[in-house]
């Protein structure tokens, strides 16, 4: 049997997804189900002075209008990042429904519950609210509190090596510019939704989340329940991208409403409410300054800037992480400050930090290449470090140069003529750009349960998540190889707190975290199976130890003699059992402390720019990645091109506009917040080096986020190559491109 790992297998849940039978949170119908619709604030800061709920309460079908006046008392949440040992997932400390205070425009302030959705929506419009509004701080330049966070995702907020500013002054060739990225929103097509039902003091919740155990912890905390009295299920999630990584308000609001009306409640956020109540990616303003000697070796690297956070939770968008690991430089200065704003707390969005960070850093590298009159691929090759540039540790795996060369070859980089505007396609300008991709390797604690049956099938369980990555498929492939079974004999169950514990599906950590737990559970299962055979007369396994046997063809066999073995059925039948199972709980070791563990890649973009209209079309895009061993070539490619697609949106289209006077998001819908559509995206290509990482489970890295990193810079660099215009503020709109001046023709 050839290994399943690495094969481009179809998704195991594909049939459910194409037939409409894959069920998402809002699709669980319970007896007596009522519908909740939230009311949101229309001021950014202040307090509610009065609710007029009389008309809403009189409206047909209305069961309750829940406001701070009649809401059950909840305890404060424990926000994300407030504990390293507990699965905390609170996204905002705002005492929603517990006080009259308002902390951002669009904050939930009431829930209307009615028998049908239309009744609840109609009645929600009848709630009248008056406010005592206070001035709010709403932009990166406002008077909000500015501070340096204690830690940035467990790392030091500032890194200083040598004299970066002095080296910049002295550098033979240099660049020094500021780049900005706007707020982005995730826009998973499934809006945030919860169905909540109480059974006495026990709570069951179907929630759209990337972290069932986090939502369980949050609900248990708020309602003062034991963890075992709360069950959270999310077998399918309609896209997450970080936007469902924490416990957002829909879950506890639905549970609150259900408690008030004594019936199960479904609460689905409207699309505008997803923008209003779920944080997006913070805007960033970043300075990148690079100096080099005449030979193109970096002499200094500066990457500093400001991002925003909120008054009700601190979130730090770690934009300078790529600069900590990508390039060798004797002088480095990396720093970040936050400004606290009266906004919905920003949160993780695909490649948080690394995504906007690579836009600035990789645009800067392109500007340095122009100043050096050096090919930008060659510049990157010349600055590849032999150990981690800021930590000094060896790399667990670094095939960055290989990825860069692979991408350049597949893309046909050699055809590029360096001068801006030198390549044309009829009246259109042709531009070719490159940028590095970068994402860290994260691993988290995880557990798993494995069961094999006499029929030769296996069930593998872990309360992890599926929101498009192909989790069940990849883990079934991994388990099948470990168990010596064909993939179609292995079933993988996920998305339920009744299953073994898993952390958030975030930080591209899930595949290897769960793989480690599955591997350990399978090892424990071998011991359990062998215990049934090792003392049995007539068993070829009699007297053997676990190290002497291996899973083979639906059973166990001597490692040194595959023919001397027994099937699961034979072992279990003799023992009078139908199945045997084992569990394991696994934590990462200290490898991440001793080694620099990162994924790398190179993004290559070819654009066509209309010189008269400033419109940019993507002609071709190639990503090449160094991500260890790939588990499923089909779903991996989808992850890469999906990340690239979101990156193309970031480059050319995406921006959440907040009215700086009121705090209202003015384009909170899918027509005015433009995400890429079919017509924006050409055929995309993704390649990978494929060398396994000797220090990760399965030799793999997570791949969900690296695909988006570097994309916006590759596009901006291609636009520069086409036009000679350097756009440092995203998105690259036609008006920005038409009004920009041509720079440094050479």
């Amino acid at each position: 049997m050839t290994p399943a790992v690495g094969k481009p297998l179809d998704r195991v849940d594909g049939r459910q997804k194409v037939t409409g039978t894959a069920r998402f949170a809002a699709e669980y119908d319970l007896p007596g189900l009522a519908h909740g619709v939230i009311v949101t604030s229309t001021v950014a800061k202040g307090r509610v002075t009065a609710f007029d709920t009389a008309a809403a309460e009189r409206a047909p079908g209305v069961l309750a209008v829940v406001t701070p006046k009649n809401a059950p008392k909840l305890r404060p949440t424990e926000p994300f990042g407030s504990s390293e040992t507990k699965p905390v997932a609170g996204t905002t400390t705002a005492p929603v429904l517990q006080s009259d205070q308002v902390f951002w425009y669009g904050q939930p302030i009431a829930v209307v519950v009615a028998g049908t959705l239309d009744q609840a929506k109609y009645a929600a419009h009848l709630v009248r609210v008056t406010y005592d509004a206070k001035p709010a701080e709403l932009t990166l330049d406002s008077k909000g509190r500015v501070f340096v966070p204690d830690k940035v995702q467990q790392e030091e907020p500032e890194i200083t090596i040598g004299d970066a500013e002095g080296a910049l002054t002295a550098a033979a060739v240099k660049m020094d510019h500021t780049y900005t990225t706007p707020q982005h929103n995730h826009n998973a097509i499934e809006p945030h939704a919860t169905v909540a039902a109480w059974d006495g003091g026990k709570l069951t919740v179907y929630d759209t989340t990337q972290f069932v155990f986090g939502v369980r912890y949050d609900l248990a905390t708020r309602f003062g329940l034991k963890l075992d009295d709360v069950r959270v299920l999310a077998p399918f999630v309609g896209g997450g991208f970080g936007g469902k990584g924490g416990a957002w308000p829909q879950a506890f609001l639905a549970a609150t409403a259900a408690k008030v009306v004594g019936r199960p409640v479904k609460l689905v956020l409207g699309r505008d409410q997803v923008y209003a109540c779920v944080g997006g990616r913070t805007p960033t303003r970043q300075r990148v300054a690079l100096g080099a000697d005449a030979g193109g070796k970096l002499t200094t690297l500066i990457h500093t800037g400001r991002t925003s956070t909120s008054t009700t939770n601190t979130f730090t968008e770690q934009f300078n992480f790529p600069a900590r690991h990508l390039y060798a430089s004797p002088n480095i200065h990396l720093a970040q400050e936050l400004i606290e704003l009266d906004v919905c707390p920003p949160t993780f969005m695909r490649g948080p930090g690394e995504c906007p960070g690579t836009f600035a850093l990789e645009s800067g590298m392109d500007e340095l290449a122009v100043a050096l009159k050096l090919d930008p691929v060659e510049l990157r090759l010349r600055n590849d470090p032999d150990k981690d540039p800021t930590r000094g540790t060896p790399f667990s795996l670094r095939k960055y140069k290989e990825a860069l060369k692979l991408g350049a070859e597949k893309f046909g980089w050699a055809r590029r003529t360096p001068e801006p505007g030198s390549m044309k396609d009829g009246r259109l300008l042709v531009g070719l750009g490159v940028a590095s991709a970068f994402y860290p390797v994260y691993r988290m604690p995880s557990s798993a349960r494995v069961e094999v049956t006499a029929a030769g099938t296996a069930l593998v369980q872990c309360g992890c998540q599926e929101m498009g990555m192909g989790t069940a498929t990849a883990q079934a492939q991994i388990a099948a190889d470990l168990l010596g079974l064909p993939v179609d004999r292995v079933k993988f169950e996920l998305g339920d707190t009744a299953l073994p514990f898993a952390m958030v599906a975030g930080g591209s950590s899930q595949t290897i975290s769960v793989a480690a737990a599955v591997t350990a559970a399978v090892a424990a299962l071998k011991t359990a199976l062998l215990a049934l055979a090792e003392k049995a007369d007539g068993s070829p396994l009699k007297g053997l130890k676990a190290a002497d046997v291996a899973f083979r063809d639906g059973g166990l066999a001597r490692a040194d003699d595959p023919k001397a073995g027994e099937s699961f059925g034979a072992i279990l039948a003799r023992a009078g059992r139908k199945a045997v199972d084992a569990k394991a709980e696994v934590k990462p070791g200290d490898e991440a402390k001793k080694l620099s563990m990162q994924s790398y890649g190179a993004q290559f973009c070819e654009v066509r720019v209309d010189p008269d209209f400033g419109t940019v079309r993507i002609k071709r895009f190639v990503g090449a990645f160094d991500v260890g061993r790939v588990i499923n070539a089909k779903t991996a490619r989808s992850q890469f091109i999906g990340g690239i697609t979101m990156g193309l949106g970031m480059a050319l289209l995406e921006e959440t506009h907040r009215d700086p006077r009121t705090g209202r998001l003015v384009n909170a819908d899918l027509a005015e917040y433009m995400v890429p559509v079919h017509a924006d995206v050409p055929a995309l290509e993704a390649y990978w080096v494929g060398d396994p990482d000797p220090h990760t489970p399965m030799g793999a890295h997570g791949i969900g986020e690296i695909g988006i990193t570097g994309v916006a810079a590759a596009v901006a660099n291609a636009v520069y190559h086409a036009t000679g215009k350097r756009i440092r503020d995203l998105p690259i709109t036609p008006e920005r491109l038409m009004s920009a001046a041509r720079e440094s023709p050479r």
Binding site: G14, G20, F24, A59, D118, R271, L670, P682
Partner: protein, 201 residues
């Protein structure tokens, strides 16, 4: 962004505007509208006969209910998805009289007597529709939430037979957003089925 590539949708919106605008306005009464009950009264149910995937359903519906909510909340046919409720994402695309429409912009009462086909009605027993099979083969989805809409839209697109090149398929599928970014795989799946059908003729 390209202009709306979906002539059917425009046609349909005009149809609704001509036929059912009064009801549509009532259903969107917002904060700026007087709080008094609209003339027909919210929640005053009306009889509606819906034909979905070949099955007749004699329903009593709130006149405000969209076809999307009628499918999901009343008939419990949850394969059709709600992404925006504003006709902007295409996740709710279904086929009415064989033409693709956004079920969220369609009042349920306005399609009484017209056959409605949803993702649940694409396969024949256990035999997947060729597009469903091609979507699996080409990994034309990730999370699967936009997939029913992409599939119904692709069924409509192939019937319209206006798209031949990849760019034409892209243009005419642009009303269906996929945030996971499976677009190139959707195009590959649609083209494979289109070419197979052409070769079979």
């Amino acid at each position: 962004m390209p202009p709306d590539p979906d002539p059917d949708r425009r046609d349909f919106i005009q149809g609704v505007a001509a036929g059912g605008l009064g009801v549509a306005l009532l259903s969107t009464a917002g904060p700026g509208v007087a709080a008094a009950d609209p003339p027909t009264g919210p929640g005053r149910a009306i009889p509606v006969q819906l034909t979905v995937n070949g099955q007749d359903h004699a329903l009593t519906l709130d006149p405000r209910i969209s076809l999307l909510d009628a499918l999901r909340e009343v008939l419990h046919l949850t394969g059709t998805k709600k992404g925006c409720d504003h006709g902007q994402c295409g996740a709710c695309t279904v086929l009415v009289d064989g033409r693709r429409v956004n079920a969220c912009l369609t009042l349920a009462a306005s399609v009484a007597g017209s056959p409605v086909r949803t993702v649940e009605g694409l396969a024949t027993g256990d035999d997947l529709h060729p597009l469903q099979a091609a979507f699996i083969k080409h990994d034309a989805f990730q999370c699967g939430y936009c997939t029913p809409g992409q599939l119904c839209s692709a069924v409509g697109l192939l019937k319209e037979a206006h798209a031949t090149t990849d760019d034409e398929v892209r243009e005419q599928m642009s009303g269906n957003l996929c945030r996971c970014g499976a677009y190139p795989n959707v195009v590959a799946a649609v083209q494979e089925v289109r070419l197979a059908a052409r070769d079979a003729r």
